[in-house]
């Protein structure tokens, strides 16, 4: 059962350096051949400064900084019972190779819901990412479901 005392808790900021190779690896794993995500010249031709981050790129800083695992542990959530319920992004500026992102993650709410398959905790998380110029670039919302 998720720890209610963490509602509205903000975790210490975490940083993540955006690497060109890792950006391409994500796009290749998904199997997208859209050249703006792979080829700098093609991206510049379409009005970007460099290859822009893929729409779901924010999953990388979350996973590679171990934030999600830390939060699950800190909120005393049973990892084996976790489902990813929802994910959403608000794009404020493009993220480019070489950017250094700082993520600030907050627990927005923890609610209990009962359904046919038993009761569950719904944990809403919000992460705001800024770049090295302190400009907000992306807001990520996730809903984590803990089955009980």
């Amino acid at each position: 059962m998720a720890d209610r005392s963490k509602i509205n808790h903000e975790f210490p900021p975490f940083t993540y350096e955006v690497e060109r190779g890792k950006m391409r690896e994500l796009v290749q794993a998904i199997g997208d051949d859209n050249p703006i995500f792979l080829d700098r010249e093609a991206a510049i031709k379409e009005g970007y400064k460099d290859i822009p981050a893929f729409p779901t790129f924010a999953t990388l800083p979350m996973n590679w900084s171990n934030m999600l695992l830390n939060i699950i542990t800190d909120l005393k959530i049973n990892f084996a019972m976790v489902l990813h319920g929802e994910e959403g992004y608000e794009y404020l500026q493009e993220i480019y190779p070489g950017d250094v992102l700082t993520g600030k993650l907050r627990v927005v709410s923890i609610d209990e819901k009962s359904g046919r398959s038993g009761s569950m905790d719904l944990v809403k998380l919000e992460t705001i990412y800024t770049n090295q110029r302190n400009e907000p670039v992306l807001k990520a919302n996730a809903l984590i479901v803990e089955r009980k």
Binding site: Q28, A29, D32, N34, E46, P55, T56, N63
Partner: protein
């Protein structure tokens, strides 16, 4: 590929070009785990899924959201996308084919922006829903 798109070029009920992905293979899940940093054994170890009673390996929900992102950014240029939200409805298993569809539901000018909104879906080959989502974009106007 998404080329230039103007507010005048798109209308409510316009369909996103259909994208068919897969079949989802074990190696793609291994690659996606390495790329995204999500090494949850449910996605990379065929034995774990059997052991916990979900009948085998399942794809990362975020990979399927990636398929939807590919379709979306192939239709609406990435630079115009403002919001992209999904709800994970069903599990995607090995060898399944994923079909991504979508359409425009709303188009209006507000606060100096040319706003479009739409819905997106991912379904498996049995037409079962995997993802339901929505998006918002701000488009330039043709002068």
């Amino acid at each position: 590929m998404a080329k230039e798109l103007y507010f005048q070029d798109i209308n409510v009920k316009d369909q996103m070009p259909i994208l068919v992905k897969g079949p989802v293979e074990h190696m793609q899940l291994v690659k996606y785990a390495g790329a995204s940093g999500d090494f949850n054994p449910l996605h990379v170890d065929p034995e774990v899924g059997k052991a916990v009673g979900i009948g085998g390996q399942i794809a990362h929900g975020m990979l399927v959201m990636g398929f939807v992102g590919q379709a979306l950014a192939g239709w609406i240029p990435k630079k115009y996308l403002r919001k992209f939200n999904v709800r994970f409805v069903g599990m995607t298993r090995l060898d399944e084919t994923v079909t991504v569809t979508g359409k425009l539901t709303d188009k209006k000018q507000e606060g100096g922006n040319n706003i479009i909104r739409g819905e997106v879906f991912a379904r498996d080959q049995k037409e079962e829903l995997l993802i339901a989502g929505s998006f918002e974009a701000h488009l330039p106007e043709k002068k």
